[in-house]
């Protein structure tokens, strides 16, 4: 088959909006995702990330605006688009009564793979998800991390050009998350386009080439993790705690140190190019914080700066 190799975006959204009655979940966003990119939607719960993902995966129709996936309109070509997508939903929807392998082969058949092809593909994916030893086990007793890996493996069954992951590591323990990230990183290296939502900063920094920060259904910033940090934050952040003294009361005394100071309920964040110099200045002013932490700026700081709120409350 003749196929154009082009820079045509896999996902193109213009003024995309989703409303449920009076509630606006997605409020006119513009997004473009190129082939091979790892793209993230970052934001707190209720920011509109999942609603956007549901529209991209063609199970929710836009209320207004334009949306094209592989250049096609989900309202018209939903089935043809879904044939080329891999979807890893936020809630696991594996068949608990079926074995790990049967979950893969059954799903493969939905995409029209022959039985032999489905078996072959299942073997490959069991390997990929490191579940070969669990192939015959029922899904029910598997750990959360294994179920997630199986869900991601299942999303790969049709060799998709675009994989959608809705909060892939929410609820997993750190070890399971790292294994999952490593698997996703491998997909990324193979050239698979990944689009994921997350409210974890470290996840976005680990996996995304480019991301948008969403809040209240809108995109409030866009760029690579590094560029976002450079634009909206400083190189370093000093976290100061003052025991019984309220951060809001102390923030006046920090004036002039670093670029700005943000009082949070339990600590003050001091944004500065040079953390150690800032700490020295704090001490010189006779302030005695109960704890001091100098760290590099993260996306969490970007988010805090953009929205005035932390990501995970």
């Amino acid at each position: 088959m003749f196929q154009l190799v082009s820079d045509q975006p896999l996902i193109l959204a213009r003024g995309l909006a989703k409303r449920f009655g009076d509630f606006t979940a997605v409020d006119g966003i513009d997004v473009s995702v190129a082939p091979g990119e790892a793209f993230g939607f970052l934001g707190p719960n209720g920011a509109g990330k999942s609603s956007t993902m549901r529209m991209i995966s063609c199970v929710s129709l836009p209320t207004s605006g334009e949306l094209r996936i592989f250049g096609m309109d989900p309202a018209v070509d939903g089935s043809a688009i879904r044939a080329r997508l891999g979807v890893c939903p936020q809630l696991d929807n594996l068949d608990p009564d079926l074995s790990v392998r049967e979950n893969l082969t059954t799903y493969a058949r939905y995409f029209g793979l022959s039985r032999a092809e489905a078996r072959r593909r299942a073997d490959e994916l069991l390997e990929f998800a490191r579940l070969t030893e669990k192939a015959g086990s029922r899904v029910e007793p598997l750990s959360g991390g294994m179920k997630r890996r199986l869900t991601i493996a299942r999303a790969m069954v049709n060799d998709p050009e675009l994989v959608l992951l809705d909060e892939p590591t929410t609820g997993l323990d750190p070890q399971a998350r790292h294994l999952l990230w490593e698997r996703l990183f491998r997909l990324k290296q193979q050239g698979t386009t990944l689009v994921l939502t997350t409210h974890y900063m470290d996840e976005a920094e680990q996996l995304c080439d480019r991301l948008v920060v969403m809040d209240g259904g809108r995109i409030v910033a866009e760029g690579s993790p590094r560029a976002l940090i450079e634009t909206y934050s400083t190189a370093e952040v000093v976290e100061l705690r003052f025991g019984q003294i309220r951060p809001a009361d102390i923030v006046g005394k920090l004036e002039g140190i670093g670029e700005r100071a943000d009082p949070l309920p339990d600590r003050v964040l001091l944004y500065t190019a040079d953390g150690d110099a800032a700490v020295a200045e704090v001490t010189r002013r006779g302030l005695q914080p109960s704890s001091v932490l100098v760290r590099r700026s993260t996306l969490e700081d970007v988010f805090l700066h953009l929205t005035g709120r932390t990501l995970v409350d």
Partner: protein
């Protein structure tokens, strides 16, 4: 390339292969027990109904009611569960499987289950000498039509509700009264005139009369085509309802 409907049917059969033991009793053993206790036990006192011994008279009724109860029972918790707890329909929704494939694949599965149960039952009753006409061979077709006419609307109902307590209402106010008053165990003519229309309204009664005409070799009370059309109308309306219910649940 396998049709997506076939893929959905396969999935349902794969799940069944894992859980089939639980259904052996209700699908195969219970109908025969019913037949023995009521047909032989009660039949011993009743003697003949409509010119045949009572056992031969209730065989077609029990056959139809087996299909009826399976179609109702299998399409309740299983369907609601696949939306609410397993979310397997949501999983299918992310693939090229269309909503019509989900419904068709499900109903084909129910049809297969019903046909197997009915054919086994037919074999057992033939051994009792309760089949009096070669037309008995068409009863699996009638049972299949009945199963579709009931399974389609019940599937739609299960796809509509949010809580399984509604099933108790379905069992109490639809399934049990139908079973008791649709001409399975005694002729509908015995019912008071005010209640008769309720029996006629039930798809079960139409299937019972068709099956009885087939196994005993007679004519049903209404023209055959009318009975069949009534069942078909239920199936078609149920399919349309199911399509709307699935769409409402899976797409916004």
């Amino acid at each position: 390339m396998a049709h997506p409907t076939v893929a959905v049917l396969e999935r349902n059969l794969t799940v069944y292969r894992r859980v089939w033991r639980a259904s052996v009793m209700s699908s195969f053993v219970l109908p025969v027990l019913f037949l023995l206790s009521i047909g032989l036990g009660v039949g011993g006192y009743v003697g003949e109904v409509g010119g045949v011994d009572y056992l031969a008279w209730i065989v077609p009724g029990v056959l139809a009611v087996t299909a009826f109860q399976m179609a109702v029972g299998e399409c309740t918790y299983a369907v609601l569960g696949d939306f609410k707890w397993v979310r397997s329909y949501h999983a299918m929704r992310a693939t090229p499987v269309a909503i019509r494939d989900m419904i068709a694949g499900w109903l084909l599965y129910i049809l297969l289950r019903v046909e197997i149960a009915v054919v086994v039952f037919l074999g057992v009753t033939a051994a009792f000498g309760a089949l009096r006409s070669p037309w008995a061979l068409v009863t699996p077709l009638i049972a299949g039509l009945l199963a579709l006419s009931v399974a389609a609307p019940v599937t739609a109902f299960a796809a509509t509700i949010e809580h399984d307590t509604y099933f108790a209402l379905l069992f109490r106010f639809v399934m049990i009264p139908s079973t008791l008053f649709a001409g399975v165990f005694f002729p509908v003519e015995q019912l008071p005139d005010v209640i008769k229309p309720l029996a006629y309204a039930s798809p079960l009664w139409h299937a019972v009369e068709l099956c009885r005409a087939a196994t005993l070799g007679g004519a049903p009370p209404w023209p055959v085509l009318l009975h069949v059309a009534y069942l078909a109308a239920f199936a078609v309306a149920g399919l349309a309802w199911a399509g709307r219910a699935f769409r409402a649940r899976l797409q916004d």
